[in-house]
Structures are given as C-alpha cells and as structure tokens.
Amino acid sequence: MSILVLAEYHEGQLAAGTAHVVAAAQAIGGDIDILVAGDNVAGVAEAAARLDGVSRVRVADNAVYAHQLAEPTADLLVALADDYTHLLAAATTTGKNVLPRVAALKDVNQISEILAVDSPDTFKRPIYAGNAIATVRSEDSLKVITVRTTAFDAVGESGAAAIEAVDVVVDNALSTFVDETLAQNERPELGGARVVISGGRGMGNGENFKLLEGIADKLGAAIGASRAAVDAGFVPNDMQVGQTGKIVAPELYIAVGISGAIQHLAGMKDSRVIVAINKDDEAPIFQVADYGLVGDLFELLPELEQKL
C-alpha cells in the first residue's frame, strides 16, 4: 500500500492536524508520502519532512496552488493519484473542500471523517452528528479519506524524509482568491478552544450573555450558544453549538441555562468534562453533565466569576 497525505498549512506554518493524519496513515500501513502544494512552501515541506513515519515529501511549489484553492489542488492530486492506494487529508475546512472533488474526478467514493482504522479498507466514522458510529468498507481501488484529527494521536517530529519537487502545473481559470481574514479575536475559536462556555434560552436575552464573558476571560474560553438561544435572537448563528452548528469537544464545557435538547448534546457530548448550570433540576442536560449545579444562573454566574 502507498498513501499520500495532503499537508495543510496556515500562514507558512504546517498545520498541527497533518501529524494526526500521518498517524491515521500509519494505522492503515504502507509507504507514506506527504504532498505540500502551495506558493513558497519550502518551510512547510521542511516541517513535514520531520514528521515520523514519512518516506518522502513531494512539493508542488507554484503560484497556481496558493491558498489551497479546491480546483487546482484537486487537479494536482488527480495527477498524482495513480501512484497511491489511499489519499488522506484532515477533516478540516481545507480537506473537506478539496478531497471530495478529487474523489469524484477519480470516480470513487470518499469516506469522511474517520475515527478509527479497522483494516486498510474498513473504517469507523460518525454519522448523525456522532449519535451513531458506522463501520464502512470501501470497495474502490483508490481510497479517498478525511480524518478526524482528534481521533488519532500526532506522530513525533524526529524524522528526516526526502523532499522532492513535483513539476505538475495545472491551469485554474475557474476560481480566484480574493482575501482571507483570520479572526483576531482575543477569545479562542469555538472549534479549537480548551474551554467552552455556552448559554441557552435560560439566559433570557442577548445582553445577559455578558455574564458569560467575565468567566470566559478568566478561563480563556470560547463562548457558544444553543440553537434555542440563536433562534430566540439572543446571539448570532456562528455561536451555535450543536448538530446544526459547531461540533466541539473541549476539555471543559460549561452549559448555562441550556436544557439539553438532543441537537445540542450532539454538538458537545464528547467534551471531557461537562458542567451544567440550570434552574430546572430535571433538565436532560444533567444526564450528561459530570457536575450539575441547580439554581438561578443570574446569582450563580457572578459568584462563579468571582471564585475562579
């Protein structure tokens, strides 16, 4: 078997997720190559070459590959795919954008967001927002797979793989990069935060979400919300945690005034520690919370902020 991993990078730095994807590739077994495609990506290639278990880093360094746009990146992968049995990428917005395009161009299925490798053609993946786990077998000669990075421990960085240039250059008349704004928020992004504190309908209104801010500041937490709070117009949709919002799995998740609708639980139940604060001691959120505190959030939140 031979596996090609699409490297991901941001602002010239190899993304941490790539080391997790290489770990998934090791679980499959076989020779592992990494593809670095971009404009001026020599530094990324050097970082990729240090990942353990990698045989070779292939570098396509050309302006057409800048910003990892789906159309040229997919065409490049298609041009290289015949050398491989498996193509892997992280199940990030980059991997999810590029890989299905490659799969369709190669006329094969994609297996999305694998959690475990049972064998080189059989994988476990979450469906229904993780409320069920499917075991699926790919019948295709080329396996195209995205990997949930949190499900595989990163490989180490003591390798020294060979770096080789790829001279395939494709055309892209379809899409043009305009700009990119990465959030310069003092608060971490919901998806990657170590701590998340979310408010629900029990917050009463959007103004009251300020009560979460002081606590979030002290804990370095991201602030989220339930769909009920979003639907009630308290906060914008991009704060939504749940099946129809962001799926998060922080070290600590604090649910405040959230009853625990299924669709919310689907988005946070893989958090390591869950705290629920709710005035209704029968609320379903307490069935998944490690620590439940029953009471009036308007009294409890200021006290919690003060005691942290």
């Binding site: 069920a132 949709n237 600590l252 505190l293 919690l304 005691k307």
Partner: protein, 249 residues
C-alpha cells in the same frame, strides 16, 4: 439567471435516533422527517437572490424515494418555482447523488447550483464538491455570503479560524454554511399554493445515469453512552471539584 437548489429529506434534527437492534442501520420507521437544515439555508439563499432580482427562476431538486416529494413541496412553499424529483429507492450516497444531480444540471443548464454543505444524517459533506467536479464547475463551499456580479459569483467561505473570499466563474456550485442566512418559515397560503406548482419526476434511467454504489455499510452502533455525574450544592463545591477532581482548572 436560473438557480438549481438541491434538498434532502433527513430525520428531523430534534429527533433522537435509534440504531436498529441488528446494527444494520439507523431505524427510520415512524420517525419524523424534515428538510435537512443546511438545505433550508440553501433554499432561502436562492429565494433571496430572486427577491433581489438576481435570480429569475428557482428549480428545487431532490434524489430519493416517493416520500421525498414532501421536502420538494416545502421548497416550493418557501419560494422555488418548480421542482424535479429524481425518484429512487436505492441507497445512494454523495457520489451517486452528485452523478444524478449532474444529469439534472445537464438538462436544466443552471447558472448557479446551491446545496447545503452537509446532510445531518450521513454527515458526508461531499455532494456539492463532487457535483462541481463532475460538471467542471468551480465550488464555493461553506458559504456565509454570496454575491453575483459580472458573470462571477463572489463567495465568502467559513474556514477554520476565519473567512476566505473567492471569486468563481459562473456556472458555479455553492454550498451553504450556517451564517449564510436565517431561513424563513413557510406561510400557510404559500404551502397551499405550493401544491399547485409543477413537480416533475425523473428516474436514474431517464437521466441515463447509473447509480454509483456507496461504500458497504457493515455495522451501525450506538457510541458509548455518557454517564451523568453528580450534582454539586454550591459554586464553591463546583470550583473545588473542577480543580481537584477533574483537574481542568
């Protein structure tokens, strides 16, 4: 400008799913079904483009069994002009759906195709990208803003940690993310009117498309249940437990 918008019938997002006792799949019998939430956002965007005078016609399409016509009627009630049902009882996943949608694209020649970024049942997040690949169109996935100007569509995309804007040549495929818009609810008179809007049926055979076999589904399991913990009596006790027992502070 003609807009094609694809919708999918899925288990309602509020329903707690059950895995069949024989672990062959999720049990869909007597379960409330609805339009996939991301597809609602896709339909809403198409309707807004029409309200702005950018789109002239909205065609809703779905792939699935007879019952999926309910979701097409919902799309018609929300503002689509007509609907196409690609009828099949086969288990089709993203590649198969993308091939069938390509068949519809070939017939309809839309300028823009809008889909939800993923369906909340299989969570594949593939169909839009695959359709773009098969039709040779560019793709603007996970869109939070869409604007059409001079034969191009500008798409602001939700990427990890921020936003990216790309310009795509038309025709193009766009997939909706949560922030693109907040879908309206269908009003009763519109639901009544939708019953009279045209709904045509196609089959994979009439489209001349053979259904791509999806990966083999070997087993479906319920993940390990999370056990509820303890109730604490005070903020002090909570902070103490988080520090000394859970060690997360």
């Amino acid at each position: 400008m003609k807009v094609l918008v694809a919708v999918k019938r899925v288990i309602d997002y509020n329903v707690k799913i059950r895995v069949k006792p024989d672990h062959t799949d999720v049990d869909l019998t007597n379960v409330k079904m609805a339009m996939n939430p991301f597809c609602e956002i896709a339909v809403e965007e198409a309707v807004r483009l029409k309200e702005k005078g950018v789109a002239t016609e909205i065609v809703a399409v779905t792939v699935g069994p007879k019952t999926a016509q309910e979701q097409l009627r919902t799309a018609l009630a929300l503002g689509a002009d007509r609907a196409i049902h690609v009828e099949t009882d086969a288990r089709v996943e993203s590649l198969g759906v993308a091939k069938l949608l390509k068949g519809v694209v070939d017939e309809e020649q839309p300028d823009l195709v809008i889909l939800g970024k993923q369906a909340i049942d299989t969570d594949n997040n593939q169909t839009g990208q695959m359709l773009a690949a098969l039709t040779g169109m560019p793709q603007g996935t996970f869109a939070s803003e869409v604007s059409i100007e001079n034969g191009e569509v500008s798409v602001t995309r939700e990427i990890d940690g921020g936003l990216q804007t790309v310009k795509l040549r038309l025709p193009a495929v766009v997939t909706s993310d949560l922030r693109l818009n907040e879908p309206r609810y269908a009003k009763l008179p519109d639901i009544m009117k939708a019953k009279k809007k045209p709904l045509e049926t196609r089959t994979p055979e009439t489209l001349g498309v053979s259904i791509a076999a999806p990966p083999t589904l070997l087993k479906v399991e319920t993940p390990a249940e999370r056990q509820g913990g303890v109730k604490v009596a005070s903020v002090d006790e909570l902070v103490d437990k988080l520090k000394n027992e859970a060690k997360v502070l």
